[in-house]
């Protein structure tokens, strides 16, 4: 009988799809009427006899966002042997990373054009925005601020985030939450050895004190000799037959500290990475000569949060950041020693309140002030005798301060319906002010099911590098995003997530001619669908698989470069017999994609396998990873464009590699 009725209603929906909301409401009310009643009216004696189902055992999102959040936990990081944030991102639904043997760049949903420096997403560490203020680059490989042993979870919040974070949150937000000292409660020493003469060392001390104070300190380093690499594009006798020998080394040092007590937290991090770049990364560079880049990132973030009263929550934050870049390469010029030195420093304060004075509203409001007081870019060229070539080279110095206010309300219209409306206004010192709105409707027909529909707009101010390059043409770029999300817990241990999105970008820079003239008149469009299934079983098996189909065009209306139409991820981890070791198998499919020369690179499936100890034995734990298990030979899209037809538009990636790690808790 009920089935009949429901069938009739869904037919109604099909006749008039525009009445989607009404239909869903009807369906939902039906479900609600069948599944729930007013528990408050049930006598307690009867209530205690009712059966309950507990909430999902799967990881739950922390971010309060109307998006389909993807989560990777510390357990996943161990089980699948991730060593960088880039590897974590590569495992997530709809995302991929591209390496040019300098940096890893993140892509997804039509973003990720080569040379974009991972510049249109945000990577946050415990609420601190990590991008530098010169290139808006998020550092996600060995130049990233955190050692993954310190990461509790990584959340990917797809969709624009300008309503909360302002500038640059165009594609999405990667939210990294660090672990607490109490999670270690000891001094842990760790050592790793891997392919290409790579080594890692780490010492971490963590403790939770009797009075509730928590302290975490960590220092780590890595060194890698790298490989001799063959580049077919440079295979001439004068170029050592395409071989770049002994110039692929990398090293870094990292420091991290965090102290928290009674709502007060102060944390600081520092990373210094040197990488020798084996490619010929620019037209004038001489192949097979050392080109060393040095990226240094540091930050301090101090916050205090408190409930000022039962109805008013406050969070205050002060942050300080610094980025330094130095590079040295040999170029084909009378003054062949090319050096670059870029520096950026900034600080900011943010004061946020959440007022819950009204029963059905949670009103968030606040203000942020950010001062990018130093943005310095310099290029200089030296003759072999050490004299500077004063005719070429150049220096640019910028600064900017931005004042922002934001307001958002989560309005509980009904037990099952919520409306989330928010807006943020940013006023940079050198540009017009900008409004970033978001409106989202969230519907929970039952506690297992959530539907979310949202519309939002985000923007990206021209960064210092854009200002140096586009000069007076440097203007903000915009995106408007529509997203529809369904999340359903099949039971406590299984979840399906589906997401349908559309991103319309506007005011993108377009090259007008070959003389270096640009205008911000480009528009582009990306549409896609993402599906994910996640499950865990009582016997310890965990799995997650996802598929993403995306269709994105560039400013000319053609298929966008480095934007695969299909992405697939599959992960399964299981305890092996005797429960001492866990095996984690991961497979990733990267669909075919276009290079800058509009050559199509074939799709590739890669597999990684990790064995990790399930529990500690006398304080010892270990893991062993194989990446690119089947030694697949594959190429990724490169950002290089100066020698069309030679094959420089693609870069060959590594074959099979191994890592072994051992940890000891003192």
């Amino acid at each position: 009988m009920r089935k009949e009725k429901r069938g009739h209603r869904s037919r109604g929906c099909r006749v008039a799809p525009s009445r989607l909301a009404i239909c869903l409401a009807l369906l939902g009310n039906l479900a609600w009427a069948a599944g729930q009643d007013d528990l408050g009216a049930v006598p307690f004696e009867q209530l205690v006899r009712r059966e309950v189902v507990s909430g999902s055992q799967l990881a739950r999102q922390i971010s309060d966002s109307p998006a389909a959040v993807a989560i990777v936990t510390a357990d996943d990081i161990r089980a699948y042997g991730y060593r960088t944030i880039a590897e974590v991102i590569g495992s997530m639904r709809g995302l991929y990373t591209t390496s040019d043997r300098r940096y890893e760049y993140m892509g997804g949903r039509g973003f990720g054009a080569p040379g974009d420096y991972t510049g249109r997403i945000m990577v946050l560490i415990d609420g601190y925005v990590t991008q530098d203020s010169l290139f808006n680059q998020a550092y996600i490989e060995e130049s990233g601020l955190l050692d993954l042993a310190l990461v509790e979870r990584v959340e990917y919040v797809p969709g624009t985030g300008s309503v909360t974070y302002g500038n640059n949150a165009m594609l999405g937000i990667i939210n990294i939450v660090t672990r607490k000292g109490g999670d270690f409660n000891t001094l842990q020493l760790s050592g790793e050895a891997g392919s290409h003469d790579s080594y890692r060392q780490r010492a971490t001390f963590g403790k939770r004190l009797e009075n509730g104070a928590d302290i975490l300190l960590s220092a780590s380093s890595m060194q890698s000799q790298g490989q001799n690499l063959y580049f077919p594009a440079y295979d001439t006798p004068s170029n050592n037959h395409g071989w770049a020998n002994g110039i692929d080394d990398e090293r870094n040092k990292r420091f991290f500290g965090k102290f928290s007590y009674e709502g007060f937290t102060v944390e600081a991090g520092h990373v210094d990475r040197q990488k020798t770049v084996p490619t010929k990364p620019m037209k004038l560079a001489v192949f097979n000569t050392p080109f060393v880049i040095d990226d240094e990132n540091s930050y301090l973030n101090a916050s205090y949060e408190a409930d000022l009263s039962l109805q008013l929550y406050s969070s205050s934050r002060f942050y300080l950041g610094r980025y330094a870049y130095d590079s040295r390469r040999t170029i084909n010029d009378p003054a062949p020693d090319a050096q670059r030195k870029h520096r950026a420093e900034w600080w900011g304060v943010d004061q946020k309140f959440v007022g819950k004075w009204f029963a059905n509203h949670a009103i968030m409001f606040g203000m942020e002030y950010r001062n990018d007081f130093r943005q310095y870019l310099s290029r200089s060229y030296f003759y072999p005798d050490g004299r500077i070539d004063s005719a070429s080279g150049g220096k640019d110095a910028f600064s900017r301060n931005t004042a922002s206010v934001y307001l958002a309300d989560e309005f509980r219209i009904h037990e099952r319906w919520r409306l989330n409306v928010g807006v943020r206004y940013d006023k940079p010192s050198d540009l017009d002010g900008n409004w970033s709105p978001r409106v989202a409707l969230i519907y929970q027909p039952t506690f297992q099911t959530t539907l979310k529909a949202s519309y939002s707009e985000a923007f990206r101010m021209p960064n210092a590098d854009d200002r140096a390059f586009y000069r007076s043409e440097a203007t903000p770029e915009y995106v408007a995003a529509k997203e529809f999300v369904v999340q359903h817990d099949l039971d406590r241990q299984k979840r399906i997530t589906g997401s349908l999105y559309e991103y319309r970008r506007s005011k993108q820079q377009v090259s007008l001619d070959n003389l270096g003239n640009y205008a911000a008149i480009g528009n582009s469009l990306a549409r896609g669908l993402e599906l994910e299934f996640e499950a865990r079983w009582d016997n310890g098996i965990r799995t997650r698989s996802s598929g993403a189909w995306q269709n994105s065009s560039d400013t000319n209306g053609r298929d966008a470069v480095n934007s695969p139409n299909v992405l697939g991820k599959f992960q399964i981890s299981t305890p092996l017999p005797w429960d001492a070791v866990r095996a984690g198998l991961e497979a990733q499919y990267l669909g075919s994609r276009l290079t800058a020369e509009r050559r199509r690179l074939g799709g590739v499936a890669l597999a990684n396998l990790t064995f990790s100890s399930e529990r500690k034995w006398h304080g010892l734990s270990a893991s062993f990873s194989i990446r690119n298990l089947f030694d697949r030979d594959y190429e990724v899209v490169s950002p290089f464009t100066w020698a069309p037809g030679t094959g420089i538009d693609a870069l060959r990636m590594d074959g099979r590699t191994y890592w072994f790690q051992i940890n000891y808790d003192l």
Binding site: G35, L39, F44, A306, D307, A359, E415, T446, F447, V486
Partner: protein
């Protein structure tokens, strides 16, 4: 779009056929009932404060009781992020994420008439401890803690409890288990 709609219909019908109460909805209903099942000393406040700390879902479920009344006082639901204002709470629910802070919460409250209810916590540090047993939400009552907070449980609440820890007893004793 049609396929999607059908898919939603399918999911929703799946959910509708499961005649169940979620754990957090049940916890909220218990907290609402506790407001009636314990006696607080005379209060000068116009409102009755139920605070939720460290559990977003119970906090959200509790919102349904925001407009109700208890002994003439209006019920106010406060979803807290920190322990700063907990002395203003008549009932304080401590979710699993904050159980680690129970010693601090206990010392902050002192003899304050606040009914502390915690999820999967040791009974000695709270007045009421909730637990899941055979798909039922069960609770234990710590009379020593109630006495310290000057709260009087009504007789029927003790009858429905799984365990009752008597005042000044060193061990938890099973009371006349009701079920």
């Amino acid at each position: 779009m049609r396929t999607l709609l059908l898919l939603f219909g399918f999911w929703i019908s799946l959910a509708a056929n499961a005649q169940v109460v979620s754990e957090h909805d049940m916890k909220a209903a218990y907290l609402y009932n506790f407001a009636h099942l314990f006696e607080w000393p005379e209060s000068r406040r116009a409102n009755f404060h139920i605070c939720i700390l460290g559990d977003e879902e119970v906090g959200a479920a509790m919102q349904d009781y925001g407009e109700k009344r208890v002994n003439g006082q209006r019920m106010v639901i406060a979803r807290l992020n920190t322990t700063a204002p907990i002395r203003l709470c008549d009932i304080l629910y401590v979710g699993a994420a904050e159980v680690i802070n129970l010693p601090k919460i206990r010392s902050l409250l002192g003899g304050q008439p606040t009914l502390t209810v915690a999820d999967r916590a040791p009974l000695q540090s709270v007045a009421v401890a909730l637990a899941l047993e055979n798909k039922h939400l069960v609770f234990d009552v710590n009379l020593e803690q109630c006495e310290r907070a000057n709260l009087k449980p009504k007789q029927n609440v003790l009858g429905l409890a799984r365990h009752v820890r008597k005042s000044f007893d060193s061990d938890t004793k099973s009371s006349a288990a009701s079920r």
